[in-house]
């Protein structure tokens, strides 16, 4: 035992000695090379300068690559978040609000947009929205995504691949028509809905997106628009267009059978609740992602988004509490969505306190639109696509012109007044022009498309099909099978 321990100690000592020799030898060899370098001639100094220049260039490239990787990472996550707003977010939100015989039909309308609008985007609508064109619509240079590669387009977003920009914008193009489906829920033919949406994407969404966000667009605030309308993430492009088109479709299709005498309460506020919460979370991608980078602007848009939603959930609930005696879950989530809609154009332009104000105003305003105005006029905007998105988008776009702050986003140049409260009252005019164009394009465009589709294949399901429900009549299946 004792001898064994001694032999272990001997082996350990030998190992230590070998290690010291190795390290020592290495240091001596390395040291002599260092000495040789420092005693070099002037021509060696030129080499050093060249090496430093190369290193500097390498560093610059590495910094750019790191920023690009950071921005691209956030933008890909944002794109995924915005898709999450459609399915499952909006599909659940709307699905819970209809009667149970229509849940799959309603969810399929949103899901179909995820497929149809994507294919259409790849073929032609990306080019119409973001390709080079005139002030009102893009050209056909980018059809089939020609020229949409992995290098950035500096005019749109200098640090992310153009394909990231393209796929991110696609998610907006998907959810916008999906929002309209709330107005004609429970009564439109699936086939007619598909044709309507394809035409709508071509003739309403694409020109509106081009005017506000496209190069040289008529309303583009950062790329030389005639009337620079501030719309950070789609107050006009997404919410006014979808909301106003929703109103037109609700009026054109007429009321659901039995409305308003037959009670049509939501069949599951639980599903709507989950959907609305997914919308809230997804909206961070929608608004903060619209910074098109992962910097401070994304943070301020993120904060404004959250504050707007919270304030509106509160103000809608308070209004409901006062008028009806109880604050409902459906009211709270509807208020949150209204706030998110209204803060969409403003996020990225306004301070957190302004965001609270915008949300609070939007919550009460949309409550009033949904509860009072709809009842006055008697239209059947089934799931309140107009009352929440049309009304919330309009008030949000106007309030953006009031509260936009050059400290948050000096879009017109450093120190130049942005919003009306900073002294740039003319911005309110620009906002109103943007809103007016969005309203007119949606009213006229949607009306013409509805007329054409109605004459060609008919818009509404038959009376029997409507009684039976869209799940069975349009898709041959049921959302809930109680028998098995």
């Amino acid at each position: 035992m004792h001898r064994m321990r001694r032999s272990v100690v001997t082996v350990f000592r030998t190992f230590l000695f070998a290690l010291v020799v190795l390290i020592g030898g290495g240091t001596v060899v390395g040291g002599s090379r260092l000495v040789a370098q420092t005693t070099a001639t002037p021509s060696g100094q030129m080499d050093r300068i060249a090496a430093l220049e190369k290193q500097n260039a390498d560093n610059t490239a590495a910094i750019a690559a790191a920023q690009s990787a950071g921005d691209n990472g956030w933008m890909l996550v944002s794109a995924a978040l915005v898709l999450m707003m459609s399915g499952p977010g909006l599909a659940l939100f709307y699905g819970g609000l209809v009667r149970q015989k229509n849940i799959l039909g309603t969810m399929m309308q949103t899901f179909a947009m995820m497929a149809v609008i994507t294919v259409l985007w790849a073929l032609v609508t990306y080019s119409l929205a973001f390709g080079d064109g005139n002030a009102f619509i893009g050209g056909l240079h980018n059809v089939f995504l020609r020229g949409v590669g992995l290098a950035p387009d500096v005019k749109y977003a200098a640090t992310i691949p153009l394909q990231t920009f393209m796929i991110y914008q696609l998610m907006f193009a998907i959810i916008t028509p999906a929002l309209i489906t709330g107005a004609f829920a429970e009564r439109m033919k699936f086939s007619a809905m598909l044709v309507f949406m394809v035409l709508w994407a071509l003739f309403v969404y694409s020109p509106m997106a081009h005017m506000v966000w496209g190069k040289g667009g008529f309303l583009n605030a950062s790329l030389g628009g005639r009337f620079p309308c501030l719309d950070f993430a789609g107050g006009t492009v997404v919410h006014v267009t979808s909301g106003v088109s929703a109103l037109v479709t609700a009026l054109y299709l007429g009321k659901r059978l039995g409305y308003p005498k037959v009670p049509m309460p939501p069949h599951s506020v639980v599903l709507s609740f989950i959907g609305a919460c997914l919308l809230w979370v997804g909206w961070f991608g929608f608004n903060a992602g619209s910074a098109l980078s992962a910097g401070t602007l994304a943070t301020s848009a993120f904060v404004a988004t959250h504050f707007g939603a919270a304030a509106a959930a509160l103000s809608w609930s308070v209004a409901e509490w006062i008028r009806q005696g109880k604050p409902s879950a459906l009211g709270a989530i509807s208020g949150a969505v209204a706030g998110l809609v209204a803060i969409t154009p403003a996020a990225g332009f306004v301070t957190p306190m302004s965001a609270l104000l915008i949300g609070a105003i939007a919550g009460v305003f949309c409550y009033f639109m949904v509860v009072k105005v709809k009842a006055w006029f008697g239209y059947d905007d089934s799931l309140d696509a107009f009352g929440v998105h049309g009304a919330g988008g309009t008030i949000g776009a106007i309030l953006t012109g009031l509260f936009a702050n050059s400290v948050i986003n000096p879009i017109f140049g450093a120190g130049k007044a942005t919003g009306a409260l900073e002294g740039n009252w003319h911005q309110l005019v620009n906002q109103l022009v943007g809103v007016a164009i969005a309203w007119c394009l949606s009213l006229v465009g949607t009306l013409i498309i509805l007329f054409v589709v109605d004459k060609a294949i008919g818009l509404r399901v038959s009376v029997e099909e409507e009684r039976e429900g869209l799940d069975i009549s349009q898709h041959g299946e049921e959302g809930y099978d109680w028998a098995h």
């Binding site: 506020v269 409901e320 109880k326 409902s328 509860v371 309140d384």
Partner: protein, 112 residues
């Protein structure tokens, strides 16, 4: 044999069940039901629209017992399910001609 059908408030189900087990009732059938009697239901609000909900959630409980047990069962149910407010429910009693145990073809009270 007699069948006692009781339509009661869902919140009273556990109390009624316990009371029945206590007096020696071995089997019962429970159904989730909706209905109303003189109770007029309530109103619900969804986005400001008022909906009158007149068919309210109830639980229907069915027990078949020997003739001598019927009155005890009725007393147990009324005692356990009563709150004194409108909407407490109702009990219906009817005669049962035959009972058959599927497992072994036993018939009559022994099958209960």
């Amino acid at each position: 044999m007699q069948k006692i059908e009781a339509v009661i408030q869902p919140s009273k189900l556990d109390a009624v069940k316990d009371a029945l087990v206590e007096i020696g009732v071995d089997g019962m059938t429970i159904t989730e039901a909706r209905g109303h009697g003189r109770q007029k239901g309530h109103t619900e609000f969804y986005r400001g629209r008022e909906y009158a909900v007149d068919l309210l959630p109830k639980v229907k409980l069915e027990v078949v017992v020997a003739d001598g047990m019927a009155e005890k069962v009725i007393l147990a149910i009324t005692a356990a399910a009563r709150t004194g407010a409108i909407g407490d429910g109702k009990i219906f009693v009817s005669k049962i001609d035959e009972a058959i145990r599927i497992r072994n073809d036993e018939r009559g009270e022994i099958a209960l």
